[in-house]
Symmetry: C2
Subunit: 389 residues, 2 copies
Amino acid sequence: MALRASADIVVAGTAMTRFGRHPERGLADLAVEAAGAALADAALAAEDVDALYLGTFLGRSLQGQGVLASVVAQRLGLGPVPTTVVEGACASGGIALRHGVLACRAGAARVVLCVGVDQMTNAPTPAVTTGLAEAFEAGVDRELGLTFPGFFGLVASAHAARYGTTRDHLSAVSVKNRGHGAGNPDAIFATPVDLATVSAARPIADPLRLYDCSPIADGAAAAVVCQRADAPRPGRSIAVLACEQGSGPAATAAVEDLCTFRATTAAATAAYRNASVAPSDVDVVELHDCFTIAEIVDSEDLGVLPRGEAAEAIAAHATRLGGEAATVNPSGGLLSRGHPVGATGLAQIHELVCQLRGEARNQVPGARVALAHNLGGSGATASVTLLAA
Amino acid sequence: MALRASADIVVAGTAMTRFGRHPERGLADLAVEAAGAALADAALAAEDVDALYLGTFLGRSLQGQGVLASVVAQRLGLGPVPTTVVEGACASGGIALRHGVLACRAGAARVVLCVGVDQMTNAPTPAVTTGLAEAFEAGVDRELGLTFPGFFGLVASAHAARYGTTRDHLSAVSVKNRGHGAGNPDAIFATPVDLATVSAARPIADPLRLYDCSPIADGAAAAVVCQRADAPRPGRSIAVLACEQGSGPAATAAVEDLCTFRATTAAATAAYRNASVAPSDVDVVELHDCFTIAEIVDSEDLGVLPRGEAAEAIAAHATRLGGEAATVNPSGGLLSRGHPVGATGLAQIHELVCQLRGEARNQVPGARVALAHNLGGSGATASVTLLAA
């Protein structure tokens, strides 16, 4: 099926809160901060906004807050515009962006505010674990005690068995991303780690160890989407070449192959086709490294690195800033920045917009084409967005 | 802002489960039943579906199920298509439909399955009450003990003070809708009630009594949306003239006027404008009678009856089948059918599609234009859809 290109739609502004602990603030406070800053970055005001999409995954489980899109719209002083909460587990932020793009493409809105938010550090750890496990299909995995570190441990074991992925391969992902994240003022972990530390850290879910896992956090991120003609700062606006979604099983027994995510490959295939872009055209990538093994699988699923060769290539620094492949997670990724789940997809967009404006902290020289990849649950959903300067 | 018309988009098929108690079945089971039946009604198959939107409000609170759109898509055997959960409290079903329409208008999908579902009767009543209160903004109303019957009791008191709305006016809404719903095989309450019984029923939240309140229920409803050219049965397909959303406060203290819902008026204004339809053109309406007073306010907000005159007109049978105004809630509405919250918006669409096909149980003779209105929370969000034969 031929889909229309989105090249006339732009991201006109982005922002994020610091990802970390915000015990003194509420879910809506964080969302309002990021949304207001994204509007300011776009040089737009509350009265310019025609619709709001808000992605959150744990807002219901941990804060018991429904209709959060309306709550945030009221706090921002928007008019009586359409406000919609979208949920796709940890891909909720990427899905919020996609629906901003769709609303513009459909002619239903000129300017759309897309916000992602979650607040996790106030809750007891068991509540967070239980809340995150709502991304598994009820009835099997979670009743058997499977957690997300456990699921990605299975992925790591499967990848090791098929491709020979080693402990040091996993560690190299963490070392790279913590290196990229060093000094990032928005990150929860802004210090580097070395290979020996990562490989010897305490076990979490075999074979994954502490630094293989992205940290929970509180935070929000936002993007303003509109037609280029409606962007007050067209020169600072970044084209959305494609913004696609895919889906897959939410139950581990239904996953045919643990070394790939069908949701990612479906979204990536659609995005590359609709943007007329090849993986080799991409200069900079923010992908969903919720665990080190996820970055290896994602890099292969997205075509950033060849299938079965990603682990070795990452260890050889191919995706490090200045490496021979596209730079992956120059922000530090989820492993460094932290993963307030609903916010992650829009934090990725914020980093890539900075890259394509030439203003990033870890600037990829001459970056022209960027890819964001946000994964939900054990591959139940994923979004892939292609942006261009 | 000029918006594009949606007149090329149709509802190609609809279905609903019986609304009632389904203790032996899960949330996904109900959604799959309605979705499969809607596809069959459209003469389409799982492989034809390009995207799935699922509206649920209590799926997280009561069943702890995230990514339900992906779970349902897998169960239906869809491909790796975009799957999105949308949430806008009790308007989640109407919002799911709207996003099916937007995805088609944006050219992102040819055929979209829109599903609404909730399962409420398995849970203890306090859990249901707490879950529903997640539609209030955290921090004030619910911490003070306000519930939705309490909120709509305030609305009834305000309406009585301004317009002289009486106990018998409220009761007349229940009598009409229970009369319309009598014999409806899909309804939880398929028997009529008389005015004396309604007016003397036990108090729930002053001035509201038992039969002023829609019953909780389990159930699902679904609609298939596509371009008319993609509908295998174009003659049975119903045009979507407009499908709009509005928003308002989720905190009672922020509601400027308890006798109107800003979310409804914003959505209705946009829908009438975009469809080039006047309220007087509408033949049949399914509106959000979560409480009797809501039908009175909604009828005024939608322009079905003049402001301040709805209570008297309803009592004089203007909106009863065969009355002089548009027929309102020929299905029996939420008061008779029951209100499995996420499913309601799509059950309304199912009834109106039957009406516009000339196949409804309580057929409005010659019905050509229909309106569906779905309200979320205390007016935090609303959707208004205009359909035409």
